[in-house]
C-alpha cells in the first residue's frame, strides 16, 4: 500500500519502512523552534525536567519576533531570559535585534528548513514550511521542551486530504486568495488533525512566496500540516541558501487520502474573510464599501517580497485615505533591505504609509497597530478572531496585499481593479 508525502517523511524520521494514518510514532526532529512568547514557558519546563543541554545547539532556533522591539518591561524581561539561555547553550540560530525577522519568513529564507525535514515549533504557524516539502507543525511549549532536549517527539500520523488545483490565475489573485477560498469551503475544522496536500498545475505556477502563504494558513482549517511537493521551483529556492541536504518525497500513486478535492483556480477572484472566523470568506465584491480605519500589510502570512511588490504596484502615485493608518511590515531584514533598494519605501512613504520594523506586533494585538473599540481593519494576517488585533469590539477582515492596499487608498474595502 502506498504512502502520502507526509507519511513518507514521518516514516523516515521514525526509522520505519511504513507508517499509516492514526499510528503513534516517535520521530526525530530536524529543527525545534520557539519565540519570545512561547520560549519562556518552554524554558520553565526545561528547568523542571532537570535538563542540562539541548540536543543540538545548531538545531534549536530561537526568534524574538512577537513583542519586539520590546513593547514593555515584561517583554524585555522575557527576551533577556531567552538571550541568557541562548548564550549558555551556545544556540547558533538565535535571532534578535537587526538580525531578527518574523520566524516563518526568516527560517526558510536563512536556509534552515530543508525539503524532507521534520520541524516542530512552539507557534501554530510553523506549518508554513510545508511549502518546501517538509513536515512541519505547531506544538505547545511543553512538547517543544521535549523536542529541544531529546531531538524527537511523538506524533499521531495524520490522514491526508489532497487539493488538486487546476486552471489559470485571475489578475490580482495569489496564494492568500486560494487558501481563504479553501478555508471558506471546508471550514475552520474542515481538516482538523489532518495533512492538507496541495498539487496540480495551478500550484506549480504559484510562486514560493504564495506557497508559504497557503501552507501558513492550513492551521486555520484545523490542519496539523500543509504540504507541497518539493518541485524544481522549491529546490531552486532552497539551493540558494541551503545549509543541509534536501530530501524529496513524492506521494505514491496508490497513497490513501481521506478526500481529494478539485479546485479550478480560474473561478477564484480576490477573497476576503469577514469577522470573526477565517472561514467567513466572501468575494471581495461582497464587502465593497465597508469603511475601515486601518490596513496592515505584513506578518508570517503576507510580509514577503511578492506581497510588498504587489502593495507597491497598487500604492504607486496614490494616497492612503486620510482617516486610514496603513502599516507596512517587511517580514525580515533581507526583505526590508530589498524593498528599500527596489524603491518600494519611497512609494509607501509618498502614499502616506507607516513602515514598521519586522515584528508580529499588530497581528495578535501586541503592539505597533492595536485597534480601539469599534475600529475596523483590513489585514493580510491570518486570524480575525474576537479581539485578535485589539479591543473585543474591533473587527479584522483578512485579505491579500492587493485588496489591502486598494482598501487603504479607498478608505473602504475595495477590489484592486478599482484603483489600479
Amino acid at each position: 500500500m502506498g504512502m502520502t508525502m507526509t507519511e513518507k517523511i514521518l516514516a523516515g524520521h521514525a526509522g520505519k519502512e511504513f507508517v499509516e494514518a492514526g499510528e503513534i510514532i516517535e520521530a526525530r526532529v530536524d529543527l525545534a523552534l520557539a519565540n519570545d512568547i512561547t520560549a519562556p514557558l518552554s524554558l520553565e519546563e526545561f528547568e523542571k525536567a532537570g535538563a542540562e543541554s539541548v540536543f543540538d545547539p545548531d538545531r534549536v532556533v530561537l526568534v524574538l519576533d512577537h513583542f519586539t522591539p520590546n513593547k514593555d518591561i515584561q517583554s524585555a524581561e522575557n527576551c533577556k531570559t531567552i538571550r541568557e539561555f541562548a548564550r549558555k547553550q551556545g544556540i547558533t540560530n538565535f535571532y534578535e535585534g537587526g538580525a531578527c525577522g518574523i520566524e516563518h519568513a526568516l527560517l526558510p529564507e536563512q536556509g534552515l528548513v530543508a525539503p524532507g525535514d521534520v520541524v516542530v515549533g512552539a507557534d501554530s504557524h510553523t506549518c508554513t514550511y510545508g511549502a518546501l516539502g517538509a513536515f512541519s507543525t505547531g506544538v505547545g511549549s511543553t512538547d517543544l521542551t521535549y523536542a529541544m532536549v531529546m531531538g524527537s517527539l511523538w506524533f499521531k500520523v495524520p490522514q491526508s486530504v489532497r487539493f488538486v488545483c487546476t486552471g489559470t490565475w485571475q489578475p490580482w489573485v495569489a496564494g492568500k486568495d486560494l487558501i481563504l477560498y479553501v478555508i471558506g469551503m471546508i471550514g475552520v475544522e474542515g481538516a482538523r488533525y489532518e495533512a492538507m496536500e496541495f498539487d496540480g498545475e495551478a500550484v506549480e505556477s504559484l510562486s514560493m512566496d504564495s506557497r508559504f502563504t497557503v501552507a501558513n494558513m492550513v492551521i486555520e482549517a484545523g490542519a496539523k500540516n500543509g504540504i507541497f511537493r518539493a518541485d524544481r521551483k522549491a529546490l531552486e529556492y532552497f539551493a540558494g541558501r541551503a545549509r543541509r541536504q534536501a530530501s524529496v518525497f513524492e506521494a505514491d500513486p496508490d497513497a490513501r487520502y481521506r478526500d481529494v478535492v478539485e479546485i479550478d483556480v480560474s473561478k477564484i477572484g480576490p477573497q476576503i474573510a469577514f469577522p470573526f472566523l477565517p472561514s467567513n470568506v466572501k468575494n471581495v465584491e461582497d464587502a465593497k464599501g465597508i469603511a475601515i480605519d486601518q490596513v496592515v500589510i505584513g506578518s508570517c502570512t503576507n510580509g514577503r517580497l511578492e506581497d510588498l511588490e504587489t502593495a507597491a504596484r497598487i500604492l504607486r502615485g496614490k494616497k492612503v485615505a486620510k482617516h486610514v493608518r496603513c502599516i507596512i511590515i517587511p517580514a525580515t531584514p533581507a526583505i526590508y533591505h530589498t524593498a528599500l533598494t527596489r524603491g518600494y519605501f519611497e512609494v509607501y512613504l509618498d502614499a502616506g504609509c507607516i513602515i514598521s520594523p519586522p515584528t508580529c506586533g499588530p497581528c495578535l494585538g501586541g503592539h505597533m497597530g492595536v485597534l480601539a473599540r469599534g475600529e475596523r481593519a483590513v489585514s493580510t494576517t491570518n486570524r480575525n478572531f474576537v479581539g485578535r488585533m485589539g479591543h473585543p469590539e474591533s473587527e479584522v477582515y483578512l485579505a491579500g496585499p492587493a485588496v489591502a492596499a486598494a482598501s487603504a487608498i479607498r478608505g473602504e474595502v475595495a477590489h484592486p481593479r478599482e484603483v489600479a
Binding site: K48, D123, G138, R192
Partner: protein, 162 residues
C-alpha cells in the same frame, strides 16, 4: 469523581478568547487566570468558582499554540473541559498541563449553571438522570498521564541516559 457548575461556550472558542495575546508576556498562572475568557465574558475570573466545568461546542481551543490557554483555565480551578471536539494543539497542551479534556456531545442538552458530575477514569458524565459516555482518551495519552505527564516522561528518559 468531579462535580461542578457548568459554564457554556459555543463553537470555535479560540485561544485569543481563552487568553488574549496581550497577556502572553506573563507566565504566572494567576495573572493568566484573571484574564481568561475576558473578550466573551468580562470578569469571568471573578464569577467562576473552583471546581466549575466548561462545556463547549466543537473545535474548542482552535488558533494559536499558546500553552497559556490551558494554564489560564486551570488557574481558575476548572479541572475539566467537555466539548464536542478539540483543536489538536490545544488537546496536546492540555494533557501536558494536566487539564482534563473529554470529547462528548453535551452542549445542546445542558443549561448554564446546571451541575454536572464527571468520572474521568471511566469517561462518564452525569447530569440529573442523563448519562453521557465521552469518547475514550487514546491509550497512548493515558500511558503518558500514567507516567505523570510529558515532563516526567522526559525526566525518566534523561535518567536513563546517565
Amino acid at each position: 469523581m468531579l462535580s461542578g457548575r457548568v459554564w457554556k461556550f459555543g463553537d470555535n472558542i479560540d485561544t485569543d478568547i481563552i487568553i488574549p495575546a496581550r497577556y502572553l508576556a506573563y507566565t504566572d498562572p494567576d495573572v493568566l487566570g484573571q484574564h481568561c475568557m475576558e473578550p466573551l465574558v468580562p470578569g469571568f475570573a471573578g464569577k467562576v468558582r473552583k471546581g466549575d466545568i466548561i462545556v463547549a461546542g466543537s473545535n474548542f481551543g482552535c488558533g494559536s499554540s499558546r500553552e497559556h490557554a490551558p494554564v489560564a483555565i486551570l488557574a481558575l480551578g476548572i479541572p475539566v473541559v467537555i466539548a464536542k471536539s478539540f483543536a489538536r494543539i490545544f488537546y496536546r497542551n492540555s494533557f501536558n498541563k494536566a487539564l482534563a479534556l473529554l470529547e462528548a456531545d453535551l452542549y445542546d442538552t445542558i443549561e448554564e449553571g446546571e451541575t454536572v458530575s464527571v468520572d474521568l477514569a471511566a469517561g462518564l458524565i452525569r447530569t440529573g438522570s442523563v448519562e453521557v459516555r465521552a469518547k475514550p482518551i487514546p491509550t497512548f495519552m493515558l500511558e503518558l498521564i500514567g507516567e505523570g505527564g510529558l515532563i516526567n516522561h522526559l525526566k525518566k528518559q534523561l535518567r536513563g541516559r546517565q
